[in-house]
């Protein structure tokens, strides 16, 4: 695999114009995928050849029509001549019609194979992305993955028709055409074909240059998009600082660059296209001249000359499009390589062979000497590598564990290890004595539900969002879990109730509402282990307390872990651990930790100063 193509590099891979073995290997692999659709490929290949053959017969018929008309000039009307004309006309009609039919057929078949490959790739890609573990998704830009799934699949799809099929067509037309032209008259044939190497070469060169300039232009357009997008979404900042002139200048500068690149592209395209046409006309003029001389000295008929000219007209198009064909291959090998890089990845976290379903009894979650570090560069919001060192704890059904600590101390990491979003480096995580790595992921993730910090809303109704983990749930269950999460009243007040669309195009929910929806989602699953990963930060204290009580009233079979910054969220826990730099530095009940007078007590004092921490019984206290 190419280092430059690695998915871990955030910048676009540099464009390579040359061909190397891995490109050919990628193309071979695409061809193998195409050949899986045996019938389609066979029909496409057969029909493309037949279409080419019919196309090649047309100049011949035209020539013979001219000859038979000329040969009988002045001979007056007669049945033989008429018969010959009718016959040629019928042949012309038949050849044209058949060429059209077979062209349609091979275009359709080629496209159908391409579309089926796209379908296969798309399904495989989607399935693979769903399997690949969190570690993979952490290390890759989502935009990059989306681009691969959209544009790269397109790049592979189009190669069937624009690459493979067109190559066959060009080879047959050029091969057979050259054979026919050269056989009749070598000199004239050579002159007629003289534009082919020039036009083909220009076409390829132009295409490759256009490609390079296209990539440069894309980059600039990307910058332009960003400038406009940031301006529009940050419009308040722009106006707050009266920075419109500055923003317009930014826009102007990038626009100027894109215009220069666009002009360069126009020049490359136009100059080459025009040169190709001119080369064609020069060859045509020469054919006319040499052929004309031959006609004059009687060594060639006007019909044959017509035939040569008609042949040239037929060859012109595919030769001019040679560059597109080369481009299709170049694009497909690049796109294919990027797709296969993802498809060939094995998920780091998967069921062990023969893994059994998790058996739940008391729902005892236990960390035994767990150490963990994120491998690979953690991007974005986690600047510091989060690690855990020898973390030990236990929580069981009916009990609550609270985890607190500064940002980056590893709190969320603990939440991620229980449902095995990541695997521990050493030590083990068990549920009722079963190592999480020994049970099936499906059963494990059913038993453990993590309410995430950021709630991802799917563009769908609220009902569908709440029932995301269990789309078969009864409406009563959905209502119930929404009530537990204290979201029901809000939903019921909406005009469309549970049918209200949320997500990108729907109504926007506040941070607190999103978090409550996320809680409802998890409640509906009835998990035995419930982990709140700082998921009530945007919910006010009173509502949070109500949710907590509703959860407690619902079942006692559940082990609960609460990770929070706000001590009010977890001070009621049976045990609280204070995490710092991945180690447990304090542990005990709220009262014990206060009595200890350590970091926890410090934090409590800090938050009380801010007037934010309710007293232990959950009722707010007034400090002034």
């Amino acid at each position: 695999m190419h280092a430059s193509k690695s998915i871990l590099s955030s910048s676009a891979p540099p464009e390579r114009v040359g061909v190397d073995l891995s490109d050919l290997e990628t193309l071979r692999r695409i061809l193998r995928m195409a050949l899986l659709h045996k019938r389609g490929m066979a029909v496409a290949l057969a029909t493309v050849v037949v279409a080419a053959v019919f196309q090649l017969t047309i100049p011949r018929f035209l020539g013979s029509a001219v000859d038979s008309a000329q040969g009988l000039i002045g001979a007056g009307e007669n049945a033989v001549a008429r018969g010959a004309l009718w016959q040629t006309a019928a042949l012309l009609l038949a050849a044209s019609l058949l060429r059209g039919l077979f062209t349609m057929w091979h275009n359709y078949q080629g496209e159908a194979v391409g579309q089926r490959i796209a379908y296969d790739l798309r399904m495989a890609y989607y399935a693979k992305l769903q399997q690949l573990s969190f570690g993979f998704h952490d290390s890759v830009h989502t935009g990059e993955l989306i681009t691969r799934g959209m544009l790269d699949i397109e790049g592979v799809r189009t190669v069937v028709n624009a690459g493979f099929m067109r190559l066959v067509l060009i080879l047959v037309l050029l091969g057979a055409g050259a054979f026919l032209l050269l056989r009749q008259d070598a000199l004239l044939g050579l002159v007629a074909l003289s534009f082919v190497p020039f036009a083909g070469w220009r076409s390829v060169v132009a295409r490759l240059r256009l490609r390079a300039s296209w990539l440069a232009l894309q980059e600039k357009l990307g910058v332009l998009t960003r400038v406009m997008e940031e301006n529009l979404s940050g419009i308040r900042v722009v106006r707050a600082f009266a920075a419109q002139p500055f923003e317009l200048a930014k826009f102007e500068e990038v626009s100027r660059h894109t215009l220069a690149l666009a002009d360069r592209r126009i020049d490359i395209r136009v100059r080459n296209a025009v040169a190709m046409t001119y080369a064609f006309f020069i060859a045509m003029g020469l054919v006319l001249w040499i052929g004309g001389t031959k006609v004059l000295d009687g060594s060639m008929s006007v019909g044959t000359l017509t035939e040569y000219l008609a042949f040239m007209a037929i060859l012109q198009m595919p030769v001019r499009q040679l560059g597109m064909t080369v481009n299709a291959f170049a694009r497909a090998s690049m796109c294919g390589a990027r797709l296969f890089e993802v498809l060939d990845r094995e998920p780091a976290i998967a069921d062990r062979p023969g893994a059994a379903d998790l058996e739940i009894g008391d729902a005892v979650v236990r960390f035994e000497n767990v150490s963990f570090s994120y491998s690979g560069a953690p991007p974005g919001d986690r600047p510091a590598p989060v690690t855990l060192h020898d973390v030990d704890f236990e929580v069981r059904a009916g009990r609550t564990l609270g985890i607190v600590g500064p940002p980056g101390s590893g709190k969320s990491t603990i939440a991620h290890l229980i449902p095995r979003y990541y695997d521990v480096d050493s030590g083990r995580v068990t549920i009722d004595g079963q190592d999480v790595r020994d049970v099936t992921l499906r059963s494990l993730r059913r038993a453990v539900s993590v309410v995430q910090q950021d709630t991802f809303l799917f563009t769908a109704s609220i009902e569908n969002n709440v029932a995301y983990g269990d789309p078969w749930a009864e409406p009563a269950g959905i209502t119930h879990s929404s009530e537990v999460a204290r979201l029901h009243d809000y939903i019921a007040g909406l005009p469309a109730g549970y049918g209200t669309l949320v997500g990108e195009r729907g109504v926007s929910l506040s941070g607190g509402q999103r978090q409550r929806l996320s809680i409802a989602r998890s409640v509906l699953l009835g998990a035995h282990v419930l982990v709140f990963d700082d998921s009530t930060a945007a919910v006010d204290a009173a509502t949070e307390r109500a949710i907590r009580e509703a959860l407690r009233a619902e079942t006692t079979d559940r082990a609960t872990i609460i990770i929070a910054h706000r001590l009010g969220s977890l001070m009621h826990a049976d045990e609280i651990i204070f995490l710092e730099a991945g180690r447990i530095v304090e542990r005990g009940s709220h009262d014990a930790l206060l009595a200890l007078g350590g970091r926890y007590a410090d934090l409590f004092a800090l938050q009380s100063l801010d007037g934010e921490t309710p007293t232990a019984d959950g009722t707010p206290e007034h400090r002034s």
Binding site: G100, V237, I282, G292, S443, G469, V539
Partner: protein, 626 residues
């Protein structure tokens, strides 16, 4: 011991029914259904953008016509060569001018026409593309510049993505329209030219040959609406499918966490299959035209061969005419094809034009007066006098609001969501104009000041510390691009951001990717503080939302805030009790009216809404239902 409830084992559940309530991806994109008919007003406004390039456009048109003429001329030259030189030379040997010379004349004519074709082609393609490219940028610039000045209310209710699609997709549609329109003129001339030439060469044969043309036109008229429907469906299913893919990638952690993989894969497969079907149907409809056009071309050639051949036999026309006809026939379906395509381009362009001009027509709500002032210094007071304001007629969001912040004072605005706090802030900066009453900054009505001077005297720190892609230093000096490095570093140090910035790989030159995605929320907020500090304005407007910030970061932010407020007048939308308590004045808003106003101690004594909220100890005054 009970086995874990495995709810959605697909082997059990699938087959019987698909999940009753499950979807992947969003539904149809409404922006996509877009065809409009020719609209004179749009064309006229479009022309205003084209007008600056009039002169070049005239040249381009001349080149298009020259190019078309050369295309029509080439078969005529062939005819000349065949009739005057070849046939005549072969048949009759005497003639005054030798056949060789006639041939040479013909060849010379051919090269002359080919050269004209070359030059005209070069000029038309270059000019038209370049004009269209400039047009695109002009329209985009016009929209972008306009959006800098339109009412914020418009920006708030319009999704960025929607505007971006106008700035990108819609301008392309008009660019394409200009390009194809110019070439369409060429196509039309070509079509008419070929028809005329055919009729002049031999009107009987010409008429016979042209008789296939109406058939093609009729076929395309029947075909076009069906094809367009199929193409539209292919596009829509594609974008739906890609939407589902994007959602699957964005939400992959939730998908895996909730074990939705199998359900989603099955739903995705339905969409993929639907798309495959639509694509194949679209391909089929596109390809069906190929044999029809080829068949009609064959028929036309057959007509030329039989009728033309007979005429040649009878000596009524010359052989060269027949050759010319045969070459014309092969060309004459091209313009029809591109002309019918032009129709779709035009419809798309009209729809895009409508959307573009819609943006350009959004009224500019706030404009500088001709005699607006730009004072170098102001005293820093802010006063609202009986201000009434709203976004929709008849629905005021602020009513008779009056308060005053003396220079150097901190005034906290408190109230539930929708009480009008943000609107109040926006008015102080004259993002909108009041309906009634007035807003005074430094004792002057904001409508008498230039917007640029307001921007200089008032700095804003928003709840979302929006950062731009670029280096940290560039972001800090956003408000004052001429600020020195020392000023930037001083500001960062003052708000306590210097330490973490220096710890970054490239220090102040570190590139912020994706609007600061590589920093934590707290760090971004500190940079936005530094940005406001560099602006060095007398008045500070602060939307202090720190709900999502942890206590540790909160502590450093509070310190930075204290530094920022030093010696400045501040209007603060306060969420945190700490900030509120330290404010000189607290203004409590409810449903657009001031219901309480005073210091913390005064308000607590009064025992009104503020005291009640304070006692209930909400994390944020925003999240309550009052």
């Amino acid at each position: 011991m009970s086995a874990v409830r495995v709810i959605d084992d697909p082997s059990v559940r699938r087959g019987a029914t698909r999940p009753p309530r499950a979807v992947v991806g969003s539904q149809v994109d409404t922006e996509e259904t877009i065809f409009a008919s020719l609209d004179g007003r749009i064309l006229r406004r479009f022309w205003l953008f084209v007008a600056p390039y009039r002169r070049r456009l005239v040249w381009a048109l001349a080149a298009v016509l020259a190019f078309t003429a050369s295309q029509i001329a080439i078969p005529l030259v062939l005819r000349l060569v065949v009739d005057n030189a070849l046939v005549a030379g072969a048949a009759i040997d005497d003639v005054s001018i030798p056949a060789e010379r006639l041939l040479l004349v013909g060849i010379a004519a051919f090269f002359a026409v080919a050269s004209l074709n070359f030059v005209a082609n070069l000029v038309q393609e270059t000019l038209v593309s370049r004009i269209a490219e400039r047009l695109l940028i002009d329209m985009r610039r016009a929209m972008f510049a306009h959006l800098q000045r339109v009412s914020l209310a418009f920006m708030d209710k319009t999704e960025t993505g929607r505007l971006m699609s106008r700035l990108q997709g819609d301008v392309h549609a008009l660019q394409e329209f200009l390009e194809t329109s110019v070439f369409a003129i060429g196509d039309f001339v070509l079509l008419v030219g070929i028809a005329v030439v055919l009729l002049v060469l031999d009107w009987r044969l010409g008429l016979l040959t042209l008789s296939v043309m109406p058939i093609l036109v009729a076929v395309r008229i029947v075909w076009l609406p069906r094809a367009r429907k199929a193409f539209l469906r292919a596009r829509v299913t594609s974008s739906t499918l890609n939407g589902a893919l994007a959602e699957g990638i964005h939400g992959v952690r939730t998908v895996q966490g909730m074990g939705r993989e199998d359900v989603n894969l099955a739903l995705f497969e339905e969409k993929a299959a639907d798309n495959l079907d639509a694509q194949l149907q679209g391909t089929w409809l596109a390809q069906i035209m190929v044999p029809i056009v080829d068949g009609l071309t064959g028929a036309a050639m057959g007509i030329v061969v039989v009728a033309g051949g007979t005429a040649v036999l009878g000596g009524r026309i010359e052989l060269g005419v027949m050759v010319a006809f045969l070459f014309y026939v092969q060309r004459f379906f091209d313009p029809i094809r591109s002309l019918t395509m032009q129709y779709s381009v035009m419809q798309r362009a009209m729809a895009s034009g409508q959307r573009i001009f819609e943006v350009l027509d959004v009224p500019i709500s706030v404009q500088d007066r001709a005699d607006a002032l730009d004072p170098a210094e102001i005293d820093g007071s802010v006063a609202f006098e009986d201000v009434t304001f709203g976004y929709l007629a008849g629905q005021p969001v602020l009513q008779n609001v009056s308060f005053r912040a003396e220079p150097g004072q901190t005034v906290a605005l408190v109230g539930p969501t929708g009480s009008g706090k943000s609107s109040t802030m926006a008015l102080a900066h004259r993002f909108y104009d009041v309906w009634d009453g007035r807003v005074l900054v430094g004792g002057l009505d904001v409508r008498d000041l230039t917007q640029a001077s307001l921007g200089r005297h008032i700095a804003m720190v928003l709840q979302d510390p929006f950062l731009f892609t670029g280096t940290i230093a560039e972001n800090i000096r956003y408000a004052r691009t001429d600020a020195s490095d020392a000023q930037v570093i001083d500001a960062a140090r003052a708000v306590g951001a210097d330490a973490f910035i220096r710890a970054l790989p490239d220090g102040y030159a570190t590139l912020l990717e994706q609007q600061g995605g590589n920093l934590s929320q707290g760090q971004r907020q500190l940079i936005s503080f530094a940005r406001a500090l560099v602006a060095d304005a007398r008045i500070l407007i602060l939307d202090e939302a720190t709900a999502s910030i942890d206590s540790y970061t909160e502590r450093s932010i509070q310190r930075a805030l204290a530094r920022l407020l030093e010696g400045r007048t501040a209007l603060v939308i306060a969420h945190r009790l700490a900030t509120i308590r330290h404010a000189d004045r607290i203004v409590v808003l409810q449903q657009g009216r001031i219901i309480e106003d005073g210091s913390h101690a005064q308000l607590m004594r009064r025992g009104g809404l503020y005291a009640r909220l304070y006692r209930m100890n909400y994390a944020s005054f925003d999240d309550i239902d009052v």
